[in-house]
């Protein structure tokens, strides 16, 4: 299991534009880090670079287990990392049940915790609806289902709570707390502060 995520000397640019360089960050099990910065400062790109979806210009992203042994990058990402981006990755033509089931099975383990996910985010009434009938907030809750349904140590979250109302924000905060208690790691890009103790990494950026 991932115990430490360490980023050293990371440089990322998009096209001709340099987003940040020489970035260092270390997150340990049970720890949450909040990523702040202006729009376009590179929050999303940093998360994508950690998830291996974007190739950094320089620097290194490394994963270590509790004994300090390095983990294979591909396996750490393919088995231990959740990435929840702006887009929910849901197919509008399929039902919520099909989509949640696929996401949990694809990312998850032998026993997909579908019921836990349904219970955590109040998805039961949505399950038989096609995704196209769901509101933005409902879709986000459905996408969050995979965080609970297929447990993975590292959560990379990009504005996770943006479409949620106050009630579900509280529910999600609770889930994050549980994840940290279970020695999970969270790195979240947010505009509003997270409702739990977290370090802040400010990417700054032009205003």
């Amino acid at each position: 299991m991932i115990h430490t995520l360490s980023i050293s000397d990371l440089t990322v640019s998009r096209g001709e534009r340099l987003l940040f360089q020489g970035l260092d960050l270390r997150i340990q099990a049970g720890e949450a880090v909040v990523l702040t910065g202006a729009n376009g400062a590179g929050k999303t790109s940093l998360l994508r670079a950690i998830a291996g979806l974007l190739r950094p210009d320089a620097g290194e992203v490394a994963f270590h287990d509790g004994d300090g042994n390095p983990l294979d990058e591909r396996l750490a990402r393919g088995r231990e990392t959740h990435f929840l981006g702006h887009q929910d990755g849901l197919k509008t033509s399929r039902t919520a049940r099909q989509e949640l089931g696929f996401q949990c099975d694809w990312l998850g383990h032998v026993q997909c915790g579908l019921d836990d996910a349904v219970e955590a985010f109040g998805l039961a009434p949505l399950l038989d609806l096609e995704v196209r009938r769901l509101s933005a907030g409902q879709r986000r809750r459905l996408a969050m289902g995979r965080l609970v349904g297929s447990p993975r140590a590292l959560w990379l979250l990009d504005e996770p709570m943006a479409p949620l109302d106050a009630r579900w924000r509280a529910v999600f905060a609770d889930q994050m707390r549980r994840h940290l208690d279970a020695d999970g790691l969270i790195l979240a890009a947010v505009h509003d502060p997270l409702p739990l103790p977290a370090r802040t990494l400010d990417l700054g950026g032009l205003t």
């Binding site: 299991m1 991932i2 994508r48 998830a51 291996g52 979806l53 974007l54 190739r55 287990d65 042994n69 390095p70 983990l71 294979d72 990058e73 591909r74 396996l75 750490a76 990402r77 393919g78 088995r79 231990e80 990392t81 959740h82 990435f83 981006g85 702006h86 887009q87 929910d88 990755g89 849901l90 197919k91 509008t92 033509s93 399929r94 099909q98 696929f102 996401q103 099975d105 694809w106 990312l107 998850g108 383990h109 032998v110 447990p151």
Partner: protein, 235 residues
Amino acid sequence: MSRPVDAEPRPPGLRGATRVLLERELDLAWGGGGGPLLACGFFACLTAVLPLAVGGDPRTLSPVAGGIAWLALALASLLSLERLFERDLEDGALDLLALGHLPLESVVLIKALAQWIAVGLPLALTAPVAALALGLPPALIPLTALSALIGGAGFAFTGTLGAALALGAKRGGLLIAVVVLPLFIPPVVFGAGALERAASGQSPGPALAFLTAYVLFAGVIAAFAGAAAVRNAQG
């Protein structure tokens, strides 16, 4: 120096993940607008228009029946390729696929496999009917179906690669055709050649062997090049 993530949270295993993705891809192919029906309909339309264009004389038609069937097959295989990766890129599902237990190369292969089952298989069943209608000797029907089935896999692999390359392009559908059709030449040559040889009393064996070899080769190329193209589009 690096060791695998420890084994306690068991992944679903290769077969499990493959099945999960394959089921989803097939569901999307069949569900989303009836891609296979569309391809078969297109195939049938081409077959019907052709005699009207060149004249219905069996003496003109029947020598080229096999070739026409193969051309129509290649064109029909191009349909529905455009949405293969594009929709997953648009809605973010491609990120999800990249973070699964399987490497992206396998994801590309599974998608190609789904394309083959969803589109290639129905087309392989339609091909003998179309070839018959064009005047192909009935004795060649099993060979037509078999070669269309093998060739369909080649079209699926190559087409999947084209779809991955065209990610992020304007008018992807047209672009895929221009990129992929030159790569369709070997399967069309070997597939139609098998029919032609059989029609002239020779053994279609070598042609089928070449066809199969090309399909295997295309699978390997499509996996690696397709994965590289997908990663490029994601980053």
